[in-house]
Amino acid sequence: MWKLSILCSFIAIITGIILNVISNSIQNKQAHLVKLEKQINEKKEKLRILETEWEYHTHPKKLMEIAENELGMSSREVDQIGQIKMFKIRGSAWTMGGLSTESLLKTHFEKSNGKMN
């Protein structure tokens, strides 16, 4: 009987030690986790502020103003878009080695079509 008592006591002590070690380890890990969470939280807060600033700076009104003032861009009307045929190309003024722009474009399109085929 006493052997059983010693064995049980021994198991209980070992279990206690293991339990204590695990418990400490969990506590440490939790403390570390809380620290990490705090850091993540702080980063998230900073990220939100940056995102908000970004949204403020990319407000369509601001973008439109910047595009107009800095790049000279403005909204195009559809009737401003035309086809190449609409331009009257003066062959004599736009000649390159005896070839007019019109004939150059024609050759280019023919070549492109040939490649595609």
Partner: protein
């Protein structure tokens, strides 16, 4: 030597002792193991997961509202609140002067009153920046305390302000999406995504604002809707306000005309009346009605803006926007059939939108003959602009009704057939004729290459004392593009535009003059964003397929009635 043999115990007692010992060990072990397993399982418990999640979002626990492209429309950011414990403040007057220099928006009187208060705790500023906190800390003023809080911020300012709404100081939604989605925003870590596109919203608001200024109008509303899935891409009400300063906005500014305003829409309803007439089979497109003289229904007289010199067919009635013709068509349709279609188009019930500010339509529920007649040209039933937009988009969308939606989700789109495909095609041709025909009232909406089709509306506004206001119109245009296969719908309503003879050399404030040009500009600007390309090469061919011979060739007229 000590041994067990030195004790003489009765066998029965030994047995009992062994049993006791065994159960004692069993008891102790069970305690040990229960503690052991509990400690091990602690980090895995569900409630701890939630605890961790809350720790992560601590202080930022209200979800963002984003547009369809993920662009932030509402967010919560950390801030500091400033309070004071007056009994800890040395020299309250001098401290108030110092604080006033650091926060000039707070009056010296207010700060002095707060710091000289007998209370244990007073609030100085609800939301402050970290920089201000630094300055106060360095100022040497005693008895000031700071606590971390959060504030709701709307980076786009005025944009879609009526839709977003606002929250109170405790973070509870007060209006708009903030109110209707309050629980989801509070509990869910995921953002609420709207169907709104901020770029399209900006274009809609800017163009409406320009026209408001030009015509010195009172107010306006505008909607851009995807007719194929019911998504609201932009929705605007004017006057507007900056959501960040919700408390400072007047009730007139906060009033969402697009969903909460009820209007007698006027001639835009003729599209609905004509679609019902054709779809129900009660009237044929080529049938003629006498539109040369005013009509009398009891005490009521129905007039036209300009009388047609000869009887007109259904197509001509719509293109010329004849009230008389529409009333005669409604007579043929009958109140029951008309009401049935109005119910199907959900014009007689409150629209299902996740907003607090959504109104019920106003009409006579008995739907008498007179209501039926006046409803044919947009009077006697007051609906909100969003209801008109969804009803008209049904006509253009092959006759399928889709409930408009503001929240982007993967829910299945429920389509309800109201009109036949054939009716829809005829109506699209008619809508195109309103914009291209020489007699059409919507010519100014014709954005080259985008095949706009629609209808103008010029309604008189009912005054608060009853009757109609003098010289006060509700000018509107509702149009879809490209009308051969409509994808998007634009509605613009401008309330009480003033005649601009100096600028325009005429005094017209009709839908065709005021709202149609705005719709054209909006379409030209939003089409590239929506990936709709202008049709240039095949335009004449497509135009030909959309042409209604009946409008251009009178010889095809077969029947004549009335």
């Amino acid at each position: 030597m000590w041994s067990n043999e030195n004790f003489i115990l009765a066998p029965l007692e030994v047995k009992r002792a062994r049993k006791r010992l065994f159960f004692s060990f069993l008891f102790i072990f069970s305690i040990f193991f229960s503690i052991f397993f509990q400690v091990l399982s602690f980090p895995l418990q569900e409630k701890n997961k939630l605890l961790l999640a809350n720790q992560i979002t601590n202080g930022l626990n209200r979800a963002n509202i984003v547009d369809r492209n993920g662009s932030l429309m509402a967010t919560s950011i950390p801030a500091w609140s400033i309070s004071a414990h007056p009994h800890e403040v040395l020299e309250p007057r001098q401290s108030a002067i110092t604080l006033h220099k650091l926060m000039p928006e707070k009056s010296l009187e207010f700060l002095t009153k707060q710091l000289e208060s007998n209370s244990k705790y007073v609030e100085i500023d609800r939301v402050s920046s970290p920089r201000r906190i630094d300055l106060i800390l360095n100022s040497g003023v005693t008895g000031i305390h700071f606590s971390k809080t959060q504030t709701r911020l709307y980076p786009k300012g005025n944009l879609a302000s009526h839709i977003l709404g606002n929250v109170n100081r405790d973070g509870i939604g007060l209006a708009g999406i903030e109110h209707e989605m309050d629980d989801k925003l509070k509990s869910n870590l995921n953002s609420v995504q709207l169907t709104i596109d901020t770029n399209i919203q900006y274009i809609l608001e800017t163009e409406i604002k320009k026209q408001i200024k030009f015509f010195e109008a009172k107010s306006a509303a505008g909607i851009v809707l995807n007719v194929t899935n019911g998504e609201i891409l932009a929705i605007s009400s004017y006057p507007t306000f900056d959501v960040n300063f919700f408390g400072e906005a007047s009730s007139n500014q906060k009033f969402n005309r697009a969903t909460f305003g009820n209007y007698d829409m006027g001639s835009t309803f003729k599209l609905i009346n004509t679609a019902i007439a054709i779809d129900s089979g009660k009237v044929k497109l080529e049938e003629k009605f006498n539109t040369t003289k005013p009509l009398k229904f009891g005490r009521h007289r129905i007039d036209d803006f300009r009388y047609l010199d000869k009887p007109a067919n259904v197509a001509e009635i719509l293109v010329n926007s004849s009230n008389i013709g529409s009333a005669l068509i409604a007579e043929r349709i009958g109140p029951e059939t008309q009401k049935h279609y109005f119910d199907l188009l959900e014009l007689t019930k409150k629209p299902d939108l996740p907003l607090l500010e959504v109104s019920k339509p106003i009409f006579n529920s008995k739907w008498p003959r007179l209501t039926s007649i006046t409803a044919s040209y947009g009077y006697g039933i007051a609906v909100s602009p969003i209801q008109l937009a969804s009803a008209i988009s049904c006509i253009f969308n092959d006759g399928k009704f889709i409930t408009p939606k503001l929240i982007k989700n993967k829910n299945e789109i429920i389509k309800k057939r109201v009109f036949s495909k054939k009716t829809s095609l005829t109506m699209r041709k008619l809508a195109r004729a309103v914009v291209t025909h020489p007699d059409g009232s919507g010519k100014k909406a014709n954005a080259y290459g985008y095949l706009v089709g629609g209808k103008t509306g010029t309604a008189e506004i009912i005054s608060n004392s009853g009757g109609f206001k003098k010289n006060a119109n509700l000018s509107s245009f509702i149009g879809a593009f490209p009308i051969n296969a409509p994808k998007f719908l634009v509605l613009v309503l401008i309330e009480e535009p003033k005649p601009q003879f100096q600028k325009l050399k005429h005094n017209y404030t009709t839908g065709g003059q005021v709202a149609a040009p705005v719709v054209r500009k909006i379409i030209q600007k939003i089409a590239p964003i929506l990936n709709v390309h202008p049709i240039v090469k095949n335009l004449p061919k497509i135009e030909q397929t959309l042409k209604l011979d009946i409008l251009y060739d009178n010889s095809k007229v077969k029947n004549a009635s009335l």
